[in-house]
């Protein structure tokens, strides 16, 4: 008897998950379909760029600085064993541009701006603002959701770039200014080690994909949240958990395609 119940609840969960994937995809397509006004009335998107992108600047810059400083310290420790301290510049830059910049910036964006988007849309729904908009013959996906989506998609790559730049600066401060690695070799190794096509473009592609994923998840969770206090708080938590896991999973997939261990 209990086995049947277990099977049933398992089946129920699987069916539910499939439904949710379907809903998310449909929601995503609707966002793309109704994206016209995000660009025609670009000031709507700019407003969201400010509240999600610009307001995330501080956390991104500070985190980037510290990550770069840690990379400088750890990298120096390891490279010193092989007498390759001069490669510190390229180690710091490659780690940041290929991996840490896109991944950490997206993770921070998910917890700083993604959760806020979910809570905001969830509350707009709970207080009937979304229904009111629909009754005014204004499509809330076009007016509320799509501008936030594009703001996220534009913000994340820019934030990752700033994260990496700040990280390089942090690595420079620790490696060159504090430890005393030769400044010339730090920068020239970096210049020689980082390939525009292979490293920077791939890093940008990654952060673009993460931006799409995080923002779509955050918006869907908000739009789908039950209109109650627990509903919204649960949705906010799910946004952070789901988008973090999605970022790390997608990172593995993308890395496997981009850098096939050559």
């Amino acid at each position: 008897m209990t086995i049947v119940e277990h099977l049933r609840s398992l089946g129920h969960r699987i069916v539910n998950a499939v439904w949710r994937i379907g809903y998310t995809s449909r929601f995503f397509l609707l966002i793309l379909l109704y994206s016209g006004i995000s660009f025609r009335r670009f000031h709507l998107t700019i407003k969201e760029l400010f509240s999600s992108g610009v307001m995330s600047l501080i956390i991104i810059l500070v985190a980037g600085l510290f990550v770069g400083m840690v990379l400088g310290l750890q990298g120096y420790e390891t490279l010193k064993r092989y007498g390759a301290e001069s490669a510190l510049g390229s180690l710091v830059a490659l780690s940041l541009v290929r991996e840490l910049g896109p991944v950490l910036a997206a993770l921070l964006f998910a917890s700083r701006a993604g959760s806020a988007m979910t809570a905001e849309i969830g509350l707009m729904k709970a207080t009937e603002q979304i229904s009111a908009m629909e009754m005014m013959a204004i499509n809330p996906i076009a007016r509320v959701v799509a501008p936030r989506f594009w703001a996220g998609v534009i913000s994340v790559p820019l934030l990752s770039a700033l994260f990496s730049a700040m990280g390089v600066f942090g690595g420079y401060v620790v490696g060159v200014v504090l430890i005393g690695v030769d400044q010339g070799s730090f920068w020239s190794q970096m210049q020689a080690g980082v390939d525009f096509q292979h490293d920077i473009v791939n890093g940008i592609i990654k952060s673009f994909v993460f931006g799409v994923a995080v923002t779509a998840i955050a918006l869907f969770e908000g739009y789908d949240a039950p209109p109650t206090a627990e509903g919204v708080s649960g949705a906010t938590t799910r946004t952070v958990v789901e988008s973090s896991l999605t970022i790390l999973f997608l990172d593995f997939i993308l890395t496997a395609f981009m850098f096939q261990g050559e």
Binding site: M124, S131, E134, M135, M136, A137, R143
Partner: protein, 269 residues
């Protein structure tokens, strides 16, 4: 009741999942009138407004607004129809990230190409009509309940709708705000030449301002009539409702078993 009907609701059935909420209701809202739909909490009043606004679809029967069957309209047709409707939500549903001014201007900016100077004049006129021209710079969080309701009212009539729907406009208001909102509903309706539907359970206030009243209970229309007919009605349900009596056709107790059993007592004899 005279003239043509703006809204016709015919044999409408509606169920959430398998729980029937409306079981074949018929209502007619003639042009230019203020109509009240009354009934206890949870009897399906909000549901009825959502059916008129096309947010829900009847499982049978139809709702016709200005000659068009709402659930047969496509997305575009429905949106065109909704532009001519205004709905005041139960809790106002003001956009919390915009000032009072921007709330009222919202639909004008979305649906018209009017220059900002004209929008400004229109917004101030609408706010003046509800007596809140001086509050245009405030944010919704800074308003009292009665003020928020009036701002929502100004936003609802921003585009001079032909049909205005009010979902519990009197709920949670102090006696003064209540009279103010009641009078505004009547005055706006007459000034705009619109038709208004007021969904409420506030009998005394509605009797003062409306032209016709429908009572809904258990998913059907149980009584209807002009305020005079309703006040003097001797139907038990209407009498209980109008005079706010505790017990009557609508029982005080939610259906339940024997009290003594729930308290684990032996039967009383």
């Amino acid at each position: 009741m005279s003239s043509q009907a703006l809204v016709e609701i015919r044999d409408v059935n509606f169920a959430y999942d398998s729980r029937p909420i409306l079981k074949g209701v018929n209502l007619t809202f003639p042009k230019g009138k203020v109509i009240a739909v009354m009934g206890g909490s949870g009897c399906g009043k909000t549901t009825l407004l959502q059916l008129i606004g096309g947010a829900l679809r009847p499982s049978s029967g139809y709702v016709k607004v200005d000659g068009q069957v709402i659930h047969e309209l496509d997305h575009k047709g429905l949106y065109l129809m909704r532009r001519r409707m205004g709905m005041l939500f139960q809790f106002g549903a003001l956009f919390t990230d915009m000032s009072v001014y921007d709330n009222v201007a919202f639909q004008m900016r979305e649906h018209t190409d009017l220059p900002e100077e004209i929008i400004r004049d229109l917004v101030l006129m609408k706010l003046n009509a509800v007596g809140l021209r001086g509050s245009h710079h405030l944010m919704p969080a800074e308003l009292s309940g009665g003020m928020a309701r009036r701002v929502a009212l100004a936003r609802t009539v921003a585009l001079d709708p032909m049909l205005i729907m009010y979902d519990e406009p009197f709920a949670g208001l102090d006696p003064i705000s209540l009279t103010v909102v009641g009078n505004l509903i009547r005055r706006l309706n007459d000034a705009l030449g619109a038709t208004s539907v007021v969904v409420t359970h506030d009998v005394q206030e509605s009797l003062k301002i409306v032209d016709y009243i429908y009572f809904i209970a258990d998913g059907v229309v149980v009584a209807e009539g002009t305020p005079a007919e309703i006040s003097s009605s001797d139907k038990p349900f209407v009498h209980q409702f109008v005079h706010g009596e505790m017990d009557g056709p609508v029982p005080f107790h939610y259906p339940c078993g024997d009290y003594w059993q729930d308290l684990n007592l032996r039967p009383w004899r």
